[in-house]
Amino acid sequence: MALIELWYRLVDLLPFSWTHYVFMKNALLAVLLVTPCFALLGTMVVTNRMAFFTDVLGHSALTGIAIGVLFGLHDPTFPMVVLAVVLAVAINLLKDVTKASVDTVLGVFFAFIVALGIVILSRAGGFVKYTSYLIGDILAVSPVQILWFVGLTAAVLAYWYIAGNAMLLTSVNASLAKSRRLNTFLIETSFTVLLALVVIISIRLVGILIINSLLVLPAAASRNFTRSVHAYTGWALVISVFSGIAGLIASYYWGTASGATIVLFAAACFGLAVLLSHLRK
């Protein structure tokens, strides 16, 4: 907690009115921790065409909350995480076993998981209580949650350092990766589990409806004008962190939902990247 105090003092040095509020200081720190995670994970999500997959994971949060409600839990984070991890592994296994396309498998899971969550949560007209999960609230992030994000960011960075090359080779050709003695199943499964953890733990910040955009947009923008993995990852990080900070501060002045404002900034970066790449040609 001493580190958080140090952070507060650092932010106090900035000459802006929003720095007077503790909730803004917490939110800024959360943004600085979460956006690099999203950028790194997003590069692989976009390369592996997993945008629909992460959307299913995000929406599974509804059912996770519903299971928490059924068991009378005050905090549904645990069932949300367990469900998302089980779902991620199940989809990974099923896409190898079933003859149906990955798209169809995901569509089936998506429909089932969302419907189940809504049915349970809407009993006796109670769904409105859970709408905060749909749009998220980054301003409500607590110092304890920030510590969670410190751990999560460290885990993602460590994973990327250790498994980055293996993920790249597996995404280019799984058999080629296998010939280099890489365990492609372990790589794909561990990546999807990490993805599930980050998506679910961050869902309170940005909300179920837009979390996927935050994963996809920085990487999708970056690949328009980059030619190497280093530049692709670097620019995705820059765009993600910039959108996070700019969106948070803009939402303070505009009085809008922070998560959605961050996504709008990321979308503007994507539009600019597409425009620049066309002008270059």
């Binding site: 980055g164 995404s171 280019v172 970056s222 190497s228 993995v229 692709y232």
Partner: protein, 262 residues
């Protein structure tokens, strides 16, 4: 037949692979010695790629695959593999340096390919006159250039067994000829065993020591001149077979005469 050290080989005995209720490979027997190029030919759906994936350990199977390296049984031989195609988006921001560095080094390429690693990558590519491609995106490479890059990766570190899956697809005639000559040079210089899956009968008949006709099981196997005169192969590939220029004149002429219409 190429000269071999006679102490290294890959021996496949009674290999059977089933997916669901379908038998993809049925009691396949194949023996490949070091320094030898074996061409595996067969129609679409004959199980050629499955055979390579099984050797790579990707597919569950019945039967035995034994690797003998320098006279000893090896559980984990070094295998170089050149896939038929890569499953990437052509616009992917992955450079040749990224792909090679990711394969030969543990240092994460997303953090940048440093000058030392870049020199190593260029060294690997230079073996196949591909060092000038190092900064190109892999989506910008021609079929032949991509094959050379993939071959460079497959040969680093030097493998005991080299598996090549359809190197003819997407490569022009000149590039293919260069590719076969490179593979021929590799097996002579490094004494490695090569299994080459292809539809390109003309090319394979010029460079392979033996040809195996696969259609779920091995239908015919032997030296090119014998297998290519086999009626079973003619049924599979049609009369265009006789136009292969590498076949000895006796075989080619005999068959042309037999097949008067041609």
């Amino acid at each position: 037949m190429a000269r071999t050290c006679e102490h290294c080989c890959t021996k496949i005995d009674n290999l059977t692979v089933k997916f669901g209720g379908n038998t993809i490979l049925d009691k396949v027997n194949l023996h490949v010695n070091c320094g030898e190029v074996v061409g595996v030919v067969g129609p679409n759906g004959a199980g050629k790629t499955t055979l390579l994936r099984t050797i790579l350990g990707e597919v569950p199977y019945q039967g035995k695959i034994n690797f003998r390296i320098e006279g000893r049984v090896s559980q984990a031989p070094k295998i170089g593999y050149v896939p038929q195609k890569l499953q990437f988006d052509l616009s992917s921001p992955i450079s040749v340096a990224d792909l090679v560095a990711a394969a030969i080094s543990r240092y994460p390429v997303w953090a940048g390919v440093g000058s030392d690693l870049l020199e190593k990558v260029k060294g690997v590519l230079s073996l196949f006159t591909a060092e000038h491609l190092v900064k190109r995106r892999i989506g910008e490479l021609s079929g032949g250039e991509l094959q050379r890059v993939l071959l460079a990766i497959a040969m680093t570190p030097e493998p005991e067994l080299l598996l090549l899956d359809e190197p003819a697809s997407g490569v022009d005639v000149k590039g293919l000829s260069l590719f076969y000559e490179t593979v021929d040079g590799l097996r002579k210089k490094h004494d490695i065993a090569v299994i080459l899956v292809t539809h390109d009968l003309a090319g394979i008949s010029c460079y392979a020591d033996r040809i195996a006709l696969l259609n779920c099981s091995i239908v015919a196997e032997g030296e090119a001149k014998d297998v290519l005169s086999d009626e079973k192969l003619v049924k599979t590939f049609g009369p265009s077979l006789w136009n292969i220029s590498c076949l000895p004149d006796s075989v080619s002429n005999n068959k042309k005469n037999k097949n008067g219409a041609d």
